[in-house]
């Protein structure tokens, strides 16, 4: 057993850093981008995060929830969260306005090991709000373009109105050696692109596993079938990387909420390779 050192002189990890909503941008009818700035400059300076990490954001009086930090860290830049209004806390956050104070705890969790994937072709497949963590991966590759091979992005959603980062599509398309494929489950009269489920499109596009790594994020069923499609194309478990959503509370591996199989999603995740995810006894 690890030796317990009694004494509570350290910072209380349950007390959030205070932050202000700097501004917001409606990305869809239910997804809003929040730009949040930590109030204490010393805290802001020390709050360095990697793509894939999350923070627990409080709407004080309503509660707190974990959200992927979908921006890339830069000194002096606010934190960005793409938050879909789907439950109690997210509704509480959506009711706030620029200038309002929120709580931030973090950065927590592990991150996408982007250094490990240098030189490889990067395939990014995001469904719905699952595109939020994928956005930081796309932007990382775009920013460090020369370090990576081909950039192939597949972004799907239930409908055209559910595609989240439409304002960044041009930036992604304009990056050299890049491809952006869009698809929806149901189109509308203005929709000109594919109407097909993501796994089918992945197969159609015949992604090559040679020197490639595939990032997958979206609803559990989308991940399940997309991974199947990728395996069908020859991708091995270590080549498929995902980030998992789980009910979380403390974010620091104490409260037990996110314990799935042998893993605590807030500590060992939320980023897992598919090989690691299959090692977990429970199904996610």
């Amino acid at each position: 057993m690890t030796s317990a050192q009694p004494g509570g002189n350290g910072r209380n990890p349950y007390v959030p850093y205070l932050a202000k909503i700097e501004n917001t941008l409606d990305l869809t009818y239910d997804v809003r981008l929040f730009r949040v700035r930590l109030i204490d400059p010393a805290v802001e300076e020390a709050f360095v995060y990697q793509p894939g990490q999350f923070a627990v954001v409080s709407a004080f009086g309503v509660g707190e929830s974990p959200f992927d930090i979908c921006s890339l860290w830069q000194p002096g830049a606010p934190l960005e969260f793409a938050i879909r209004r789907v439950g109690t806390v997210t509704s509480g956050l959506h009711a706030l306005e620029p200038g309002d104070v929120v709580g931030v705890r973090g950065p927590f969790g592990n991150w996408f090991p982007m250094e490990e994937y240098r030189g490889k072709d990067i395939i990014i497949i995001g469904g719905g709000i699952g595109m939020a963590p994928m956005r930081s991966v796309v932007n990382w590759v775009v920013e460090h373009r020369a370090d990576y091979g081909a950039l192939r992005v597949l972004n799907g959603a239930r409908s055209p109105q559910d595609l989240v980062f439409t304002n960044e599509f041009d930036l992604w398309r304009s990056s050299p050696n890049s491809e952006l494929v869009l698809t929806v489950d149901r189109g509308d009269d203005k929709w000109k692109d594919r109407v097909a489920l993501i796994p089918a499109v992945a197969t159609e596009l015949q992604y090559s596993p040679a020197n490639a790594v595939a990032f997958v994020c979206g609803p559990p069923i989308m991940i399940k079938f997309t991974v199947k499609a990728l395996q069908g194309l020859g991708f091995q478990g270590e080549q498929i990387i995902t980030t998992l959503e789980s009910k979380m509370k403390c974010g620091i591996g104490k409260c037990g909420r996110c314990n799935i199989g042998q893993s605590y999603v807030c500590l060992d995740g939320p980023v897992y390779t598919f090989a690691q995810a299959t090692q977990l006894l429970e199904e996610l």
Binding site: M1, T2, A4, Q5, P6, G7, G8, G10, R11, N12, P13, Y14, V15, P16, L18, S58, F60, G61, V62, G63, E64, S65, V86, G87, T88, V89, T90, V101, P220, E245, S246, K247, K249, C250, I252, G253, K254, C255, G256, R257, N259, I260, G261, Q262, L281, E282, E283, L284
Partner: protein, 329 residues
């Protein structure tokens, strides 16, 4: 070893109450529970074990994490002051071992500060079990009815008083002023408990995760929270906000993986929608996941509260027995 008479023990405790909050087992409406005492008359000297384990004294059922108030429009966070020196008197070795297991998790980086603050102020003075009874099974799971692990002092009832064994420096310090007398006598050996082995169980658990045995064993479960709440090694909690006008209080309170909605996420998806899946989590966390993280220690101390109090007699010893048969098959 040293020995102390019951009367001297009471005198020592009474002086302790000047400096410490003394928590001891009392009889509350027919139930043995740990409560703060103001007189040694309140102590239930003949208790077997408490219904609710003493973990509630360090990890309370409900506690305030902080309050947030606006002062001149500026939000201020205030943490509660935790500064009361406490002696927990009369806890059993199994419960002390369990507290050590909670320590390992809560003190692991990042340190759970509210727990750590309380823990630092607590001294554990335990009583050995001289007459342990089935369904208790501490001996089969790495413990002992007279074990000292996790305790600061161990006392064992003998014919002439209590044998006193200080275990830590903290224990020695709290005993100052106690009228101890040396004796050549030795503490009585506890009565034997029925034996069964749990050796090798942890290693084989991954193989039997999908066994149909689980559904059969757990079929009667009503998904209440008795097993987890009465378990001294369980420590899941919920974090919730409470509004009081403009002020906000963030609290944490006990929660349980046995609750139907424990793992449900916003939007409705629930990875543990069945009681079988939930009970497996209870078992696997203790017998596999915790040992994997914390040096192979099984997070079960054999106190058998879950066995005694389960409304439908889901008996963890039976599950272990069935598993062993499953594994050797």
């Amino acid at each position: 070893m040293d020995i102390i008479t019951r009367e001297s023990l009471k005198r020592w405790l009474t002086t302790l109450m000047d400096r410490y909050q003394v928590m001891a087992p009392v009889l509350a409406e027919g139930n043995h529970l740990f409560r703060a005492i103001s007189s040694t008359d309140e102590i239930a000297w003949d208790y077997y074990n408490s219904v609710v384990p003493p973990k509630e004294l360090i990890f309370p059922l409900t506690e305030s994490l902080f309050t947030l108030e606006y002062q001149n429009g500026v939000p201020q966070i205030q943490e509660p002051v935790i500064d009361r020196q406490t002696v927990i008197f009369g806890l059993r070795p199994c419960d002390a071992r369990a507290i050590a297991m909670l320590d390992a998790s809560f003190m692991n980086d990042p340190v759970d500060v509210p727990y750590a603050r309380r823990r630092a102020l607590v001294t554990l003075v335990g009583w050995a079990c001289v007459r342990p009874e089935s369904p208790c099974f501490c001996v089969n799971i790495g413990g002992a009815p007279n074990g000292t692990q996790g305790l600061d002092v161990l006392m064992t009832e003998g014919t002439d008083g209590y044998f006193v064994e200080p275990v830590t420096e903290k224990g020695k310090a709290v005993l100052e002023g106690a009228e101890l007398k040396h004796t050549d006598a030795v503490p009585p050996e506890p009565a034997a408990l029925p034996a069964f082995s749990t050796e090798g169980l942890t290693e084989r658990l991954p193989e039997v995760f999908l066994s149909p045995m689980w559904q059969q064993q757990v079929e009667a479960c009503i998904s209440c929270k008795i097993c987890t709440f009465l378990c001294p090694t369980c420590y899941c909690f919920d974090v919730r906000d409470r509004r009081d006008g403009e002020a906000v209080e963030r609290m944490r309170c006990w929660d349980s993986c046995q609750g139907a909605h424990f793992s449900k996420i916003a939007g409705g998806y629930n990875p543990r929608a069945t009681k079988t899946a939930r009970w497996k989590q209870f078992f696997y966390h203790k017998y596999l996941y915790y040992p994997e993280r914390f040096g192979g220690v099984i997070a079960c101390v054999g106190c058998a509260r879950c066995v005694r109090k389960c409304p439908v007699n889901i008996d963890i010893r039976e599950v272990i027995q069935d598993l062993k048969e499953d594994i050797s098959a």
